[in-house]
Amino acid sequence: MSRQTHVYIVASPRPRTGKTLLARALIEFFRTDERPVAGFDLDTMDPMLARFLPKYAMHADINDTRGQVALFDELIVDDERPKVVDVSAHAYETFFDLMEQIDFATEAPRRSVEPVILYAANSDPLSVRSYDRLRNRFPRLTLAPVYNDGIMRGYNLRGEFPTTNVVALPLRIPMLSPVLRSIVDTGPFSFAEFRHQPPERFPAHLETEMNAWLKRVNLQFREMELRLLLSSLRGTLQGPRPERQRDSARPRA
């Protein structure tokens, strides 16, 4: 049985909520597993993701139709290769407006493509409202809040970001110590390469902390993948999967 192609959309309407760190960690999780992965960085001003992972993430500008075609025509392809989209704060509205307009959320599952929104939560009221709006706009999509301990700083916002199903359980990104954070944020740095071979003369206590952090983060990614797989299996048991490449010919008014 072929696997579904997962499109992870890492998003927040606010800057500095840990989106790019999350996107990097997710891409590197697949790299660690030696699985093909594609990343897309929608930040036109400061494409950090593309800069940290130039071989795995490309810059995408959705401000014009050509860029929109280049991105979404790639995201809709069922090639079993996970894709990670880092939606910057200034591309947030454009991205989700377009996603709604072209009905990506409905068309993607018809082609065995499963979009998953990983929402970088924070205490900002806009962030809370935008999360609620996403739930209403895309009720059938998996929308999981991601709590970054370095951003949340002790706030408990679970009530503000309710989950809608068992697949969309929240993720929790542990806080990195300031020293380790500065290393991670100063390129070039690769989580996958660190796992494979830590840099020479890397302090032992930081190596331990980095490994513990990666272990916790990757375990959550693996559990999320497992939940998505079980969810699709449950769907298979309940009825036939939709034909691939089938399109809806009727416009919806």
Binding site: T65, R66, Q68, V69, D73, I102, D103, A249, P251, R252
Partner: protein, 249 residues
């Protein structure tokens, strides 16, 4: 349908999107299983026929044999759509009056509708005055077509309203803008909008149109059809069916 239905799509100015509107009408009726045929009066070129070759004939509506081809073959079961070439709306309406078609519509023997596609100029409003005399018993739709990013810049609302009131029961329809690249790609594909959305080529073969552009077209066509639903277009051309639906309810 209890009587033949004829829809004329026209304007006295070129480039305002007559053929595009006609194409949306053909797709609309096709999706609702309303039998439809079309005449493209842009002889000999026939842009409409390029998109809907199976249901379209190209002819010159000012010539008597071609008028016979249209009006002597009206059928109770089929909607006839005539895409009138630029500059021929008023002459066509004159010809319809001369052959007694307008009278037949007045007597209720034919359902007659006009989609008047408006351009951005005041001259476009003058067309309303020109055509008003013919259309007292027709369903008259004034179509503001924004598909080409038209800004109806020459109008002020008071002027427009004064023209608009000249035709009793005139109804306004707004056609939204379609993304330019999507519009170009459908033109290049030379297929109905529905085929483009369904990723099908001219002969029904699978095509490789952009998912994004198909999404844009689907979204846009949905809005256009919502306008046609709003004016109850199917009920207008198929009053018998309307009665059946009401009875069923």
């Amino acid at each position: 349908m209890s009587k033949p239905a004829v829809i004329i799509v026209g304007a006295d100015k070129g480039g305002v999107g007559k053929t595009t509107i006609t194409r949306t009408l053909l797709d609309y009726f096709s999706a609702r299983k309303v039998p439809t045929r079309a005449f493209d009066t842009e002889a000999p070129k026939g842009t409409l026929k390029r998109f809907h070759p199976d249901v379209t004939d190209v002819l010159d509506v000012t010539k008597v044999p071609d008028q016979m081809q249209i009006f002597d073959t009206l059928s109770d079961s089929t909607v006839t759509i005539i895409d009138v070439r630029a500059g021929l709306l008023s002459p066509t309406l004159t010809a319809l009056r001369d052959i007694g078609f307008i009278d037949a519509a007045k007597k209720g023997q034919i359902t007659f509708s006009v989609f008047h596609i408006l351009g951005p100029s005041i001259a476009s409003l003058d067309e309303i005055a020109d055509t008003a005399d013919y259309l007292s018993d027709a369903k008259y739709f004034l179509v503001k077509n924004f598909i080409n990013n038209t800004h109806f810049f020459e109008w002020d609302q008071a002027t427009y309203s004064s023209y608009f009131r000249r035709i009793k029961d005139a109804v306004e329809i707004t056609i939204p803008k379609l993304n330019e690249m999507a519009s170009e790609q459908v033109e290049l594909a030379s297929v109905p909008f529905l085929s483009f959305i369904a990723n099908k080529g001219p002969t029904g073969e699978n095509a490789a149109y952009s998912f994004v552009l198909r999404g844009y077209v689907r979204h846009w066509l949905g809005h256009v059809w919502a306008e046609y639903d709003r004016i109850k277009l199917v009920d207008i051309v198929s009053p018998k069916d309307q009665v059946q639906i009401r009875v069923a309810r």
